[in-house]
Amino acid sequence: MKFVDEYRDPTAAQALVAQITALAGDDHFKFMEVCGGHTHTIYRHGIEHVLPANVELVHGPGCPVCVIPMGRVDDAVSLAHQPDVIFTSFGDMMRVPGSRGNLLKAKAEGADIRFVYSPLDALKIAMDNPEREVVFFAVGFETTAPSTALTLLQAKTKGVSNFTVFSNHVTIVPPLRAILESPDLRLNGFLGPGHVSTVVGQRPYRFVPSKYGLPLVTAGFEPLDILHAISMLLTQIREGRCEVENQYSRVVREEGNPRALAILAEVFELRPHFEWRGLGFISQSGLKLRPAFAAFDAELRYQTPGVRVADPKACQCGEVLKGVIKPWECKVFGTACTPETPVGTCMVSSEGACAAYYNFGRMHRQAAVTLGRRSQLTP
């Protein structure tokens, strides 16, 4: 366990922070972590308060639960209310608000909604209940989409005819591009996502340095991984380099997982456009089932409202997802919007910036503010 000990070594963390402080000098840097898992680590371990004040982290749109727009939740609720349907979903999605309540409310109203851990569980429910129709609410980036794809291949091979998928799978690159095109955001680089990259590899990110002139370093999920990746970003900038680098090479390969990518391509194709909460419509960012899998497409089998619903006015998830404001700067944060009664999606998942901050960040920030006051009081 020497490796773990090293990683948990506070001296190593201090050395990295000293390195980051020296590299940053007097300049201000803003880096976006794309992945919700990173956001969780950052808040859980108070990384923002370990870093010098002039190195700022901005939380990106990489939480699959947080980017589902209200209209799609309404569609899910409507599917769940169809007669004879058993609607299956990951637990995280149950509290995501639609315009007329969430899946938990639909379940309380009598819809047969079942929480599953895996799309394979949903398929098993379908095979165990041939007289019922089973719909799987598929969400997630390229980390999760290959699992849905493989499940659909199995369903097809086994000739299961009472199983359909309501696909809300999304891809990581288009929102990155949308953020880079956004005029109200000034970034100096990205912490690239960890698990998504195990599937897509490093190549899809090359446009970030080549077209937008910003470095990207794919990072692991340990606090020290995050600090290391930040120091790699700063080193690139100070050495005048601008590249895609891989801090998480223990798990992420340059080429990703070619088999998973091939399975994805066999089952899914890009939608012309897909709506993201807070980011609006982004072209070629969502995945739908290919015509060969039309029999398994819930959107073809059932009528859904398919209506676009604007986010609640008070909710500022969009600005949080783009990193324009911090969670605590949102008007409803911690008052109308809490993990128990979320108004916006960022408060729902433990990977959402608002929930992570609500659960962990508040204490760290309060401590930092208190300490800051103390140091101002003492001359």
């Binding site: 773990v4 637990g91 394979l120 569980d121 997630g140 699992s147 223990r250 997982n257 990977e351």
Partner: protein, 96 residues
């Protein structure tokens, strides 16, 4: 939901269906290893598991690291483990 849980392969339980028996924190479960078909997985290998599928092969050190880091997450990890434990398709008792 994007958690990857480390597990150790005990045996390939069904070659055609790409199923393997894994040990996750002392609990034996069945997972799908179809996404790692090219990795030539053997018993004793470590993998990161996501929604019932092995998503990447890792070494023992990375497994220990990932586990330690997950345990620090507390509630989120416990919920994920509980969900994994309750997964119908991965039950080890149904025989396969």
């Amino acid at each position: 939901m994007c958690l990857g849980i480390p597990g150790q392969l005990k045996e390939i339980s069904d070659v055609n269906e790409h199923l393997a028996r894994v040990d996750v924190s002392g609990v034996t479960r069945i997972i799908n290893i179809g996404l790692l078909e090219d990795e030539n997985l053997q018993s004793g290998d470590w993998v990161l598991i996501h929604v019932g599928f092995a998503m990447s092969k890792i070494d023992e050190e990375e497994a220990a690291l990932a586990l330690a880091s997950l345990q620090l997450m507390g509630q989120a990890y416990e919920e994920e483990l509980e969900a994994f434990g309750s997964s119908k398709s991965s039950s080890d008792t149904g025989g396969s």
